[in-house]
């Protein structure tokens, strides 16, 4: 898929990841895009090398206790793509607040 396929929704999702919303339901909450759209988009972006993903350590999840989460992160290509998207969709930058905390819990 070329960059021509970068839709507004995809850009919003990228932006969310860049702003520190690193896993599925976080992204869904902040963007308001339904899960049936967010997850395929995340997976597609990952397939094309704009995102990488990592499962959280099971021990952390167990201590909470909850199912382990899958964290997403922008790659260099992903950041470039986002910059391009911001140029195209001017309002994008103002859409989401930056997350304050260092979002990814320490990885053992």
């Amino acid at each position: 898929m070329g960059r021509g396929f970068l839709t507004y929704t995809t850009a919003v999702i990228l932006q969310a990841v860049a702003n520190g919303y690193l896993y599925g339901f976080d992204i869904i909450d902040i963007t308001g895009v339904p899960g049936g759209t967010v997850y395929p988009a995340l997976r597609r972006l990952e397939d094309e090398g704009y995102l990488t993903s990592e499962w959280e350590e099971p021990s952390i999840a167990q201590s909470e206790p909850r199912p382990p989460r899958k964290y997403y992160e922008l790659t260099r290509e992903g950041r470039e793509l986002l910059a391009e998207a911001v140029k195209r969709y001017r309002l994008l930058e103002q859409t989401q607040p930056k997350k304050e905390r260092a979002t990814k819990p320490s990885r053992a």
């Binding site: 896993y23 599925g24 339901f25 869904i28 339904p34 899960g35 049936g36 759209t37 997850y39 395929p40 997976r43 499962w55 909850r66 199912p67 382990p68 989460r69 899958k70």
Partner: protein, 584 residues
């Protein structure tokens, strides 16, 4: 855990159950991760909602709604299946076939010939024998003939027929046609144009209405009525360029003006859609000559077609008509002594005696397909032998037996598909050719075409055949044969080492090969003997057991087989005994 609590557990968090369910359609290798990600998502929702103390039915519905999102997500993952085993197998199979272009092409072509021939012939059989006539409830249409001891099929005497029409109770209608011809003038060159006189109920009886204009009225069928004519679609196109304003105009037949009242439909099929003997239809009342109307001894070539009343069987009709026929015999013994009536389905009259030969041809091409399958099995067998190493490596790397079989089978399937596609092309061409050649005026051939349902059926059937043969070739015999081949090399080496002469080894291999051939020929002869009995009834000047054929052909076969055994045997004797033994 009691069953009840388990039951409750199952329904406490239906949204999580849904995720598990939807996961089934996710490609297997992604499934675990997929379920985990979605579970995390939904449990998080659950927690949030619980924090707001709003885990009521509304929020539960919301959870359910969110879990259906997972379904769309699972659908989005379907293209990933392309990386699944099946597709890996397909890609690999295609690569293997391409690597061995020659063998693959021969195998596909062999299959294609078999499938093509079968589909072509079966299309003809379907169009000629299996498809019912293009009239509504065509099985109720019967042909009526008079018959006597000396003349088994006789055209009907007109006064007799009139009696039948009045007295019978089994037919809705009986119509009559009497072939004739006219000279058409005033439409280009004068031309002979052929077509029958028919009674007014002709089109009603068949259940086919002219597509332009109308059928004849009873008035027009009376003696001395105004002259009218109905043209066939073919004649209308040919002589009048399909002029839509022809209805109501007059044309000149035998120098007399006839008003055109109708044109038959393009698909009106009276003994063939484009039968030149049915280019026009005239009312019986216009037929010149009086003697045939009154003289019971005259059989002017009138044929009768009746449409049975609903629910009347052909046997009931036969009984009644034979009883009726006996009456003119009593009343007019001079003309009608021993006359009776024969009733036969119109369908049988259309197709004539072609049924048996067609089925025999079908059986023959069916055998051709079987032979083709056997050939392909042999080919893949030969290839399998050379792929022993590859399969061994796969097994060593952990492929299970079923996995290897599945992969070989996928390859066979590809080959069968290629053969099928090519066969379809051949079938379409074959049918075109057959229709063009129209061997021996095969009836109803105008409408024969490759029927897609027929094609589907043949492909399915023969796909199964082919697959079976391929499977046997690729997997079953492969093991046995490859094993014996290597075994033999060694055995021959030992024999040679122990002092066997080349001649001895040759004799051994050839003798064993020939034993198989002889058994084959014996079975073949028995089969041929039976089959030729059947075919003999259809062939002219060939006796069922033609001595020359039955002796020379097996001899020829034996000679070929001898050569086929001799060549490998020669190679076997060239084995270096030491090398052969060392291979242990």
């Amino acid at each position: 855990m009691s069953p009840l609590s388990r039951y409750k557990r199952l329904f406490r968090r239906p949204h999580l159950r849904l995720i598990a369910l939807f996961g089934v359609i996710v490609p297997r290798r992604l499934r675990a991760n997929w379920r985990q990600e979605w579970e995390a998502e939904l449990r998080h929702r659950e927690e949030l909602l619980a924090q707001w103390e709003r885990l009521d039915w509304r929020s539960k519905l919301d959870l359910l709604r969110r879990s259906t999102s997972a379904f769309w997500d699972a659908l989005c993952l379907q293209p990933k299946r392309l990386e699944d085993e099946v597709f890996q197998d397909l890609r690999f199979g295609a690569r293997m076939l391409l690597k061995n272009k020659g063998a693959a092409a021969v195998a596909a072509l062999t299959l294609a010939l078999g499938i093509g021939a079968n589909t072509a012939i079966f299309s003809v059989i379907y169009g000629v024998l299996l498809k019912s006539l293009p009239f509504p409830e065509a099985d109720r249409l019967l042909v009526l003939n008079e018959a006597s001891k000396t003349t088994p099929v006789m055209s009907v005497s007109y006064p007799n027929l009139r009696d039948w029409q009045r007295q019978q109770t089994v037919f809705e209608n009986i119509t009559v046609y009497l072939p004739d011809n006219m000279v058409l003038t005033g439409a280009g060159e004068p031309e002979r144009i052929i077509g029958p006189f028919v009674t007014a109920n002709f089109f009603v009886t068949l259940g086919a209405h002219p597509s332009l204009g109308r059928a004849f009225t009873e008035e027009e069928d009376k003696l001395g009525a105004e002259r009218v004519v109905i043209l066939s679609h073919r004649a209308w196109q040919r002589h009048f360029n399909g002029d839509p304003h022809l209805i109501g105009q007059t044309i000149q037949l035998n120098g007399a003006s006839h008003t055109v009242v109708g044109v038959t439909a393009a698909d009106f099929d009276f003994y063939g859609r484009r039968n030149p003997n049915n280019d026009l239809f005239l009312p019986m009342g216009q037929k010149a000559g009086q003697d045939f109307r009154s003289d019971r001894g005259v059989h002017p070539g009138i044929y009768a077609i009746g449409r049975l009343r609903p629910g009347v069987t052909i046997e009931q009709a036969r009984d009644e008509m034979k009883a009726l026929a006996a009456r003119p015999g009593r009343e007019y013994p001079k003309e009608n002594a021993d006359h009776t009536i024969e009733l036969n389905p119109l369908f049988d009259d259309y197709v004539g005696d072609i049924q048996r030969p067609l089925w025999i041809i079908q059986a023959a091409v069916g055998l051709v397909l079987l032979i083709a399958c056997a050939n392909v099995a042999n080919l893949s067998l030969a290839r399998a032998a050379s792929r022993r190493r590859e399969i061994a490596v796969r097994m060593a790397l952990g492929a299970g037996r079923s996995r290897v079989v599945r992969q070989l089978l996928t390859e066979s399937l590809l080959l069968a598909a290629a053969g099928g596609a090519l066969g379809t092309l051949l079938a379409v061409w074959g049918v075109h050719l057959l229709v063009k050649l129209n061997p021996d005026g095969l009836p109803r051939l105008d409408d024969v075409a490759v029927d897609w349902r027929v094609l589907g059926f043949t492909l399915l059937l023969h796909g199964l055949f082919a697959l079976l043969a391929l499977f046997l070739g690729a997997v079953g015999i492969y093991g046995v044969m490859a094993y014996t081949v290597t075994q033999r090399t060694q055995e021959i080496g030992i024999r040679l080492a122990l002092g066997a002469q080349t001649g001895d080894v040759l004799k051994l291999v050839v003798r064993q090969g020939l034993a198989l051939v002889l058994v084959g020929i014996a079975i073949g002869l028995a089969g041929a003997f039976a089959l030729t009995r059947l075919i003999a009834s259809l062939l002219f000047m060939v006796s069922a057991t033609d001595a020359v054929t039955f002796i020379s052909l097996p001899l020829l076969l034996a000679a070929v087989a001898l050569l086929a055994c001799y060549l490998p045997a020669r190679r076997a004797t060239n084995v270096d005994p030491l090398a052969a033994i060392r291979r242990e």
